[in-house]
């Protein structure tokens, strides 16, 4: 199994290189000279040339790329145009805020999603099931910013339970976590429900019932364990959509995380910062996928050998 995981890690190296290459090329075809964008229009040509040389922008593109990659491997993503700081430092400062938000959101989505899914599956096809699954679909279909604005209006403005924005106190994290967890809660609930219903058809469930186990025990120790398997991997795969959602959530609630950095970088046309944040988040997604694959083969002995 260790061999399989190693193989997966090796496969993700070319993917990662491709990711860096694509982002690198995309950001280099931007019209306009990066130094002019950085300093403004009315700057002496000599100054521009000097700075371009310092930043290595006068060299051919492929040399720039290899320099970038070799620096990136050592954890150096270049210097931000606007903040005059190392991009890695800026990202690492913002990262804990995003992690905290994502972890809280994940907890919300697991608890709500799993509970709703089980409840709907137990009440299969009656009015409660319909109601809960309708709610889950609403969760999947609502734009993140809409949930955020509605919750802000209700809980921060009308009821004044939670602050409108901020990230320092525990209460200020409640709304952002619900907002970010909402969509995943919907998809987890839908998945849990259909998995439980599928597992319920299996022979071992019939055996468990035949030997006289209570329905609750059948559910807990036979159905749930198997129905949870795909969900565990889905949780790891959800990192990608969580990070996309975090961009919006952080911007609405004013949380200085990675998503906020990316939007700031676009607004101030700070190319190295944007490049760094996108590559950093993509690495996180690839790591998430790797964990998902490995977890699956650890948890499910049936497929351990196949991968």
């Amino acid at each position: 199994m260790a061999k399989n995981i190693l193989k997966r890690i090796l496969i993700s190296i070319p993917v990662l290189t491709g990711v860096v290459l694509i982002i690198f090329i995309m950001l280099r075809v931007v019209p306009g000279d990066p130094v002019t964008t950085m300093l403004g229009e009315h700057v002496n040509q000599m100054v521009i040339d000097k700075i371009s040389k310092e930043m290595g922008l006068d060299k051919p593109l492929y040399i720039q790329f290899f320099t970038y990659i070799s620096h990136a491997i050592r954890g150096d993503f270049g210097t931000s145009y606007r903040m005059n700081r190392n991009v890695t430092g800026i990202i690492l400062d913002a990262f804990p805020n995003t992690v905290r938000l994502a972890v809280c959101a994940a907890i919300v989505s697991w608890i709500v999603g799993i509970a709703t899914g089980i409840f709907a599956a137990v009440n299969k096809n009656n009015i409660l099931d319909r109601l809960f699954m309708g709610g889950a679909l609403l969760g999947v279909s609502m734009p993140v910013f809409m949930i955020a604005l509605v919750l802000q209006y209700l809980f921060a403005y009308k009821l004044k339970i939670f602050p409108v924005s901020g990230y320092e106190t525990v209460t200020s994290m409640v709304l952002p976590s619900i907002v970010l967890g909402w969509n995943s809660a919907g998809s987890i609930a839908r998945m849990i429900r259909s998995n439980i219903l599928e597992v319920m058809q299996e022979d071992y469930i019939r055996t468990a019932r035949a030997k006289g186990l209570l329905e609750f025990a059948v559910m807990r120790s036979h159905a749930l364990k198997n129905a949870m398997l795909p969900v565990v991997t889905m949780m790891a795969l959800q990192i990608s959509s969580m990070l996309s959602g975090a961009v919006i959530t952080e911007n609405i609630f004013g949380i200085p995380g990675i998503g906020r950095l990316a939007v700031n970088a676009i607004e101030t046309r700070d190319m190295p910062l944007l490049q760094g944040t996108v590559i950093f988040t993509t690495i996180l997604v690839i790591l998430g996928n790797l964990t998902a694959d490995s977890l699956y083969s650890i948890l499910d002995p049936r497929i351990r050998k196949e991968i």
Binding site: V15, V19, M26, L137, Y153, V247, A262, N289
Partner: protein, 303 residues
């Protein structure tokens, strides 16, 4: 009695040709399908209504979505302005109806383009296999590794805001998942007897792909298409919300939410109306997609 003949005719006709049905059995079939998928059918009607609204926006609306009128700023909902007016005195309902044009084109056109790219690459990868397959699929892996919103943001950074650029961004971002689905479909289809038979008769690769494999992928593609539309609409509204999508004064729903955000506490209807519009369209397409999946391809559940 009627039902019986319908049944036999249907069996008979399906033996001759799967595509053509006798009219009566077709009606029966339609009735059954609608009965079993009320929600999907309702969504379909809803979508048609929204499309009609969007097409005839000029006729329906009393106001112009772009004409500003400073004396009518931030009016509360009234008979003259059912959803009130925005901070520049433009009628909110009018802007929402015109916004449907943008959301629907964003939902349809980039999705079509990305599905087209994805289908071709998927067919080629699945049918030819080997090195081509490896290269295309690794490329798809790379595209799937990006959080889609961030990748779209990078494209928008490179090309600047605006609707055309959103088209390009979304088309570039979303092809990879289609190509994966089409590839796996092609892989299983190309092992079928009729493909083997066609090959042994010396039929060319292009003909086999177009005539024997692609038509069998179409049910899957239709479902995938319907389910991709809402995510494209959501992406556009998110991009516009973040200020890297459609630019003012375009009547885009996402943009309307952003500009109304300041008035969330004083005039919530300005924020809620476009947000509910987005949600309605997204839900309708999701329901329709789910229904189509049940009708067209029972094996595609939960993909």
């Amino acid at each position: 009695m009627d039902k019986d003949t319908g049944q036999t005719e249907q069996n008979f006709s399906s033996e001759i040709d799967d595509g053509i049905d006798i009219e009566e059995s077709f009606k029966e079939k339609c009735k059954n399908i609608i009965k079993q998928n009320k929600l999907a059918f309702f969504s379909l009607i809803m979508i048609i209504l929204i499309i009609l609204c969007a097409v005839f926006a000029n006729v329906i609306c009393r106001y112009n979505p772009y004409t500003q009128s400073l004396k009518d700023r931030l009016l509360a909902p009234s008979f003259a302005h059912p959803l009130g007016t925005d901070e520049l005195g433009r009628d909110t309902l009018t802007r929402i109806i015109f916004g449907a044009r943008i959301s629907l084109t964003i939902g349809l056109i980039p999705t079509l383009i990305s599905m087209f790219i994805g289908t071709i690459l998927g067919l080629v990868a699945g049918y030819f296999g080997g090195k081509i397959d490896f290269i295309i699929m690794r490329f798809a892996d790379i595209m799937l590794a990006f959080p889609s919103l961030l990748l779209a943001m990078v494209v928008m950074y490179t090309m600047g805001g605006g609707l055309i650029n959103i088209f390009i961004a979304l088309s570039l971002v979303n092809w990879a998942s289609t190509s994966r689905v089409v590839r796996s479909e092609t892989l299983s289809l190309s092992k079928k007897e009729y493909v083997e038979a066609a090959k042994s008769m010396g039929v060319g690769n292009a003909t086999i792909i177009l005539r024997h494999i692609l038509p069998n992928c179409i049910p899957t593609l239709v479902v995938l298409f319907t389910l991709s539309i809402p995510s494209a609409i959501l992406s556009e509204s998110s991009l516009s919300f973040l200020g890297v999508g459609a630019q003012p004064p375009t009547a885009s729903w996402g943009l309307m939410v952003v500009s109304a955000k300041k008035y969330l506490f004083t005039q919530p209807v300005m924020v809620l109306a476009p947000a509910i519009a987005i949600m309605t369209v997204v839900l309708a397409f999701n329901f329709l997609g789910d229904g189509l999946r049940d009708i067209l391809d029972p094996y595609l559940k939960e993909r």
